[in-house]
Symmetry: C2
Subunit: 474 residues, 2 copies
Amino acid sequence: MPRPPSPDTLNRLKEAVGAGAWLDAPADLAPFAVDFRQLYRGVTPLVLLPRDTAAVARILAVCDADEVALVPHGGNTSYCGGATPDESGTQVVLCLRRLNRVRQVDAGNFSMLVEAGCTLAQAQTAAAGAARLFPLSLGSEGTAQIGGNLSTNAGGTAVLRYGMMRDLVLGLEVVLADGRVMSTLKSLRKDNTGYDVKSLFIGAEGTLGIITAASLKLFPQPADAATALVGVDSPQHALDLLGRLRTAAGDQVTTFELIPQRAVELTVEHVPGVANPLAQRAPWYLLVELTSPNPHQGLDALMTAELEAAAADGLVIDAMLASSIAQSLAMWKLRESVPEAQRHHGASLKHDVSVPVSAVPRLIEAGSALVQRLAPEGEIVSYGHLGDGNLHFNVSQRAGADRDAFMARGAVLERAVFDLVDSLGGSISAEHGIGRLKAAEFAARADPVELSVMRDLKRTLDPKGILNPGKVLI
Amino acid sequence: MPRPPSPDTLNRLKEAVGAGAWLDAPADLAPFAVDFRQLYRGVTPLVLLPRDTAAVARILAVCDADEVALVPHGGNTSYCGGATPDESGTQVVLCLRRLNRVRQVDAGNFSMLVEAGCTLAQAQTAAAGAARLFPLSLGSEGTAQIGGNLSTNAGGTAVLRYGMMRDLVLGLEVVLADGRVMSTLKSLRKDNTGYDVKSLFIGAEGTLGIITAASLKLFPQPADAATALVGVDSPQHALDLLGRLRTAAGDQVTTFELIPQRAVELTVEHVPGVANPLAQRAPWYLLVELTSPNPHQGLDALMTAELEAAAADGLVIDAMLASSIAQSLAMWKLRESVPEAQRHHGASLKHDVSVPVSAVPRLIEAGSALVQRLAPEGEIVSYGHLGDGNLHFNVSQRAGADRDAFMARGAVLERAVFDLVDSLGGSISAEHGIGRLKAAEFAARADPVELSVMRDLKRTLDPKGILNPGKVLI
């Protein structure tokens, strides 16, 4: 068990980073002690802002010797409170934002070396500067940092084509709990020398070690794209269309996002500048994008032909192909404004879940029945990454419903939705991680043997329990 | 440390699998005690052939209680002696070939559940039966089993497009060293609940647990393909062509294999039915394949246009596009016969290594100088998966050279090649694993911190050291 840091420990931590690289005035500490969703308000005595890996190693050596708990902190965009110190006032914050160098971009090897404190947008820009694509893409990319993307195995809107963050990693540099530096920053496509140690740290939310740098995969930049908004009758028709598009276009299908009619209405109502371009109303909409590095791929023609054929077969109610970048951006804005529209509309209960792709229609059908029965003050706004089987199965407070009565349904509804997800072989956290928010549900629902292995791994890599205590495993 | 099994232990192991599911007659045991390359001849008192996961769990429970060592065994195609018991006569063999059910193929979810004892070819066939592709492809696929493919993180000729075995896994069922069954056979594209435990067992060569089943990713079947044999001047020109093809065709570039002139000559000389279809001689040849699930993709035209443009720019000496399936198969036969031609030609020294793709020309240039200096009785036949940075940097005995003098160069040359690979940020085992063959070199060359973490993980998951002792970590 970690201990409260003594004044001497705090002084040695300050020495470890050096002058100008720490904060301990209450006003300076406050932003580091509350999470993005304001679910948690913690207290910390000290924020450390190291500039290089060696300083991180010195910090960990002090924490290990004195058994002081450390909370790694990046862009502070966690949805699960993963980067926020607890209320005890004993946890020191390690902010990695000054480790923000792009160490190398190797266009010929389609790889780059970046430090944990680079924002995702900064990494994307560095890749583009070498005519390459770093494909991870998500709403908070201007703020979220690579270290956080790695530590939460971030997802987003291009997973169907490029995979999650774990799939984009070639090598890692990690500072272990005792301050030793594991330098496995190789940039190889194939390396079968021993165990896959690096993958343990990806998605571990800083509970097994501190990631300080990564070697990441790059791809050719897209030079042709076709974006369409498509109206369909049902999630099953959406899945059928996905199957046809994958057969016609293979991995050129980069994005396949599901948006219900109600989300489109809320977005048009609450977010300035958003309109529904389709003439025909449909119960469900899809944002579909094909991309290719070949500028002469003819993706518009391919998309048009596939959508026309699908319409002739009764799978598509209406569709519009973006004929300009402005139209494409407008379609993306419709999709990306859904969370903001939900915020404006009232309270919401959120469930970031996944099931096998083929089970999404059953999840939506059975989940909707649960909402009607268990949260009658709410209406379903379930949208997300259909191509990955990942829905944000959210419920918005109905206009005129009592907020407190609605929110009081949260715990019972969440358990019922998670039970449903479990029964379909799904996951209670598809892309947002566990953090503090879902630690109890995870502990209750995980395979007991796998959970026991995870606890053994935690004890092995962090025997004193100083790395981000209270997150992931409790 | 494991102990020799007593007669009582052997009897309880037989009871654990039941009648007809074990072998202990010397003639029956012999094939399980020698590896494919005949590098090692071991001794085992008992081979167990369980039919289901529960029997594997009972076996491990006995081995755990009695501290008896167990060697998992699949299709016995390891190049590194990974599945062969040692000479002590104390290691029991666990053969998984009867766990060979395809439990489920879910075409809608692009996934399937298969048991460890399925051959790779059987898994490919099951996927094809549902109009899906399981893309792992390698020379021994008719014999190699899924459990071995997983335990060695197998590679092959389609890694450029589809990744290695690790990249194709959605979930695993694993029997732990103490007999507990970890059932994490989910078939999800996104699941961020806790640590990536399953990845630890992939590539661990059975030293951390026994994989009994896996959920694997499927893909649309290719319906269009273009195959070409291309002559180029240098590895750098080959890399330049790869960059142009990836830009033009993206992930439709499925295969990009490098073959030196000398390997083509040896193949034509030693393997019946192999011919070089190109009119112009070239120092280097490439087997290039584009594939797409869309039958109307026009890949032949795309390949022709790209090769003509590259020829006009001086990158391509000569090229031939396969105009029939027979021609395509003949090109593949040329590539796949290289190891056989090497065997017929004489002794060889083999190095399965990788470097960053952009460093392959330097590896070939500096490696060739090493061979001239350190093994003058040999000539270089280095071929392989250029798109992955993975070369089989092999050296064949020159005609007329003394075999013993040549083979005596092996140890010094291997150390020099591995030193070169290390200096280029490469790997001394790209796709064949460590097994017993490379355990000492791996221990000497690995990052000491990472190696120490691997040893800690081994102690955590196999505290009694009963799982495949002497492999990977020594």
